[in-house]
Symmetry: C2
DNA sequence: CTAATAGTGTCTATTAGACAGTATGTT
DNA sequence: AACATACTGTCTAATAGACACTATTAG
């Protein structure tokens, strides 16, 4: 039909295809500290997620993950980077592709396929830099056999959603997730959140991702708590210290003034063998 | 501006956005047996991938992964399913989303974002069912520090490509892959192949995915070889048998006629504790 | 002194690695 | 008998889990 690739391309007309768009959604996760009454007790930690309030239709007034349309002249991964920078005003945030959602009616406007990304950050880096429509929500989740309930709250709003999980097939532990209750989160973002939490939970076991959520200097107690929050279980001190021993290095600094034995500050070790 | 979501949606015009399309590419992997001269020796196994020859521009005449455009009224995951069924004429193939590629110039026709999927199958299920433009290629890969060379061959054609890998950041072992040599494979498909191999290599360690590539009944020797091919290293017999012991169950059948002690046939055990 | 966390020593249990041996078919 | 793979026993090394103990601060 065509004599050459050049000829073919000149005759090629994208207008012949149906319209569809691509967006990216960003699940920015961090760790929050909850102040406790007793100054001697260590503060309780939570995972937290950054949400933005929609000031446009659709889902006007609801909360959702930061996201936006991919531009034609923009690399896919530059899209979440651009949005993340807009919301947080900092660069160099850990970013990793999560999953691409492509349900037919996920967006009421038109057919939209969305690639979600997970980003991790130390919240303290963002002090006073957040966009005005953005807010951190603490995450609490209750993972039963075939249902997960997630509660997000930012001390003003509380958002709850419930998701049913059914095993897809028997050889892996991949689940099909369905939103069965969701009043307050826009789009299919509950799925993105769950997906990201699962990913992070797995990843902490065989990588050093956690350190993307830590400040430059930290105590091993803090670090352990972060692992515990992500893994959703208590760890034994000696075991934990053995495991992270060659990921971190001692500094000359200590953290004092907490009503108990001061804690040595560590930093992430770059060239571990 | 708009009084309601309904009003907003009625005024919404998708035509205002630039055109872009979505495709899915499928990396169908399987295991091939290579006949050996000596009838007593067990046949050598390889990973193999299904490629199709392009009979249209662009990349006319080159080999590529099976793939195609997402239709507007089609769930994202139904797209690879549809294509897979077209090429193999069977359903129920293990399918898992791999990664979404969105480089600006990955396709000469227009801006195309592609979500890749990995599929696994026992090749014997496809005997005489393959589409005429499809062919299995054996995979051999050589993984150096910062370069991977992959050689694909189907006994007629041999396709070679080389990829440079550079660590993205220090906390995980995620790499940025760049194609630095590729004569014969269309699009950025070398990246999809590498991505899939990596994924599979990781996944065999903590799931039972391998069994998607096995026939109903198999010997432990065969199973071990499949693990070895995927992991690209020899395993010790007793250790291997310990690990898979509660994933499989003995059957009453044996495989005989191979010039040595017959081997018991096992099957994948469904309800392992 | 007390409450609270920091940090370590050590014993045990489980899992992974290595090697050598025995078993049993086909030609 | 010889070859080739099937399959098992057992010793050792490494890793993970559990518990109990000592250390050190602010108030």
């Amino acid at each position: 039909m065509y004599k050459s690739e050049k000829e073919f391309l000149e005759a090629y007309n994208p207008e012949e295809f149906d319209r569809l768009s691509i967006t990216t959604d960003i699940l920015l996760l961090s760790i929050s500290d909850e102040e406790t009454a007793n100054y001697r007790k260590t503060s309780k930690k939570h995972m937290s997620v950054l949400l933005v309030k929609r000031d446009d239709y659709p889902f006007k007034g609801k909360w959702c993950l930061p996201g936006g349309f991919l531009q034609v002249d923009e690399e896919l991964e530059d899209c979440p980077k651009r949005i993340l920078e807009k919301e947080t005003n900092i660069k160099d945030i850990y970013l990793e592709q999560l999953y691409t959602f492509g349900g037919i009616n996920r967006d009421p406007r038109m057919r939209i396929v969305s690639t979600s990304y997970m980003a991790l950050v130390d919240k303290n880096r963002l002090k006073d830099k957040l966009a005005s429509n953005a807010s951190w929500f603490n995450i609490k989740y209750f993972d039963e056999d075939n249902e997960v309930v997630v509660v997000l709250d930012n001390e003003i709003d509380t958002l709850t959603f419930k998701i049913r999980k059914t095993l897809k097939e028997k050889t892996t532990d991949r689940y099909k997730f369905e939103i069965i209750e969701n009043e307050s989160l826009a789009f299919d973002h509950p799925l993105v959140i769950l997906n990201g939490i699962e990913r992070l939970k797995n990843k902490v076991n065989y990588t050093d991702v956690v350190f993307n959520m830590m400040p430059e200097l930290f105590t091993l107690g803090d670090l352990q708590q972060v692992y515990e929050v992500i893994l959703n279980k208590k760890l034994l001190d000696p075991a934990f210290r053995r495991i992270i021993a060659n990921k971190v290095e001692k500094t000359e600094f200590v953290e004092r003034g907490a009503g108990h034995r001061p804690s040595v500050l560590f930093r992430y070790k770059n060239n571990q063998k």
